[in-house]
Symmetry: C2
Subunit: 406 residues, 2 copies
Amino acid sequence: MIQLSEDQIVKVTGDVSSPKGFQAKGVHCGLRYSKKDLGVIISETPAASAAVYTQSHFQAAPIKVTQDSLKHGSALKAVIVNSAIANACTGEQGLKDAYTMRESLASQLGIEPELVAVSSTGVIGEHLDMEKIQAGIELLKQTPAGSGDFEEAILTTDTVIKQTCYELAIGGKTVTIGGAAKGSGMIHPNMATMLGFVTTDAAIEEKALQKALREITDVSFNQITVDGETSTNDMVLVMANGCAENECLSEDHPEWPVFKKALLLTCEDLAKEIARDGEGATKLIEAQVQGAKNNLDANVIAKKIVGSSLVKTAVYGTDANWGRIIGAIGHSAAQVTAEEVEVYLGGQCLFKHNEPQPFSESLAKEYLEGDEITIVIKMDEGDGNGRAWGCDLTYDYIKINASYRT
Amino acid sequence: MIQLSEDQIVKVTGDVSSPKGFQAKGVHCGLRYSKKDLGVIISETPAASAAVYTQSHFQAAPIKVTQDSLKHGSALKAVIVNSAIANACTGEQGLKDAYTMRESLASQLGIEPELVAVSSTGVIGEHLDMEKIQAGIELLKQTPAGSGDFEEAILTTDTVIKQTCYELAIGGKTVTIGGAAKGSGMIHPNMATMLGFVTTDAAIEEKALQKALREITDVSFNQITVDGETSTNDMVLVMANGCAENECLSEDHPEWPVFKKALLLTCEDLAKEIARDGEGATKLIEAQVQGAKNNLDANVIAKKIVGSSLVKTAVYGTDANWGRIIGAIGHSAAQVTAEEVEVYLGGQCLFKHNEPQPFSESLAKEYLEGDEITIVIKMDEGDGNGRAWGCDLTYDYIKINASYRT
């Protein structure tokens, strides 16, 4: 553990089990052919918890069960997650199954069911094989802790696990924040098919945590897009168990902004990892917008750019076709004065004064051959800044999704 | 010419030059390698005209010039159109060039410049080669009428020409409506990269025509999507020259609804042809929504479905993955009660009561192997009906757009 000064936030190697008092596990229970498909995060003490959920009209059964758990006091000791089957659009039986998952884990841990959250990801409209889930929960009991196993168990079409970890000092105590996420396709606004799990040993007032999570989600997870889709199962859950023994954080606490910054960095890391691992993606695309009317406008424009199929295919083809970027900005709902928009790519100005600017095509192509592409837009509407993340659109996206179920 | 009874609207073989008093031409002026790239529609008398334009913040120069022409009395005698170069984002010079196109054609026809509309489509940010344009306008003069040449001259990545024609009777006079369009990529709301030209020999009050065009555009051209993009150059133009010698149509005229219906059919045909010819597309997808809260909600949902990358790839893969359809409906802004939504494909019910329904996968696959796919959604929110059209998302979309400029 590093000695941290005030206001210092350090990225460290770690994951959801790095904060004190947390462990994570994952097993193969048979929903998938051979990969791990059932995981759990357990806190040794009840953790103040907050969550944000998909905005879909078809919220999946596990979302409803988690909402029910958080209605009873906003404290959690565990979350159980399965992949392969989303348990969405599964009617009464699906809801019953999600409650059974909650009950089974709670009974094994000897805790109240309301201290358990449930989360699922995978194919919509298929029922869970509850025998396999029950056997998996038994197996979890005997399985040693392993956060890598948990991270694998929550994946679907993802190609890599996603984790991050930060340390900071609050009132002289070291506080750790760890995160894990999944998400690859069906990624767009309002959480899309993505799950995010953040643990921290900080002591935090629930209300402040919920408010912070909502704000941070808007500029992190809600600013990524892979394909404009929103899933039935999206959820970001934060659990704060207080094991760091810091003075309880609240909005009035002098070090609240530092904690919030660290939580933002954690969510931003996970969000970017999801965008980078978009289905079929070869590149992470970041759009930075400066000088929009306000931050909201800047975020809207940034997201339009990374969400544009034509920008995405042009980046895939390493084609500095700034017309695609202009096209995307052009149909955003934000305030845009054409004459004031400037477009930069890899340090070169491509567009200014509503006219193309001379630039080196070969340098632009070289820049686009990298695996992290940043598109910078400067405007003159106000002080609004925003960012968004996406990925290129490739043949493999089609391949993966033309026969997802087969 | 067929004898038409009142209220009868008949689809006939024809195009923009079928209505009396119109001719259309197209030539190769050298903006494209060998295909025709400059076209004109000419009316022998001034035609009451109406237009709708792209909502992009970066409206192209020709759009501004056409708006200027229609400001001076809403009558047009001609429209000149080039492909290959969009003359968008081309600053002062671009605007000057668009005005020069208008002047040159007007001077050749011996008419006021304000009687000419200008339209361009193609790559953004490049200047027109005005010598080629000028020579092309000269060449047009000597070229015999040929609406097929016009239809070819307005294409970019389109693979087929788009035309339609209807006849109807107004007060005993036969009235003809003809249409031509282009559009393949960058197709989404608010006109996208598409051009639509509709001619009719009906006599119509300008104001009624403009109002009808706006309404009809909302349920035809604005209900298609290929890739969620909006272009800088989109325009739909209707010219009504009165050569049919019918009693002038206005909103109070008893036969106005019949004319409006025929205009709607014309625009719908062209819109569907654009969707069917979407970049890389192999299938036309139509979404029909019944029983939404209102028509607006129904249209929003229908468009979400045909706009979903995951629905589009699933249709391409002939995979009856109704979960993708639910996903798309789920994140629409419309009012949706999950339990009341029913999903039908090829006559089979796939989803009802928030649960999957048993259906024949092989029949569904067989249906999806056709080249026109209709997805029907039944709801119980109200009387709203709506439709939208799109196409499947295929490898060829990526291929076409990864290196559009090369």
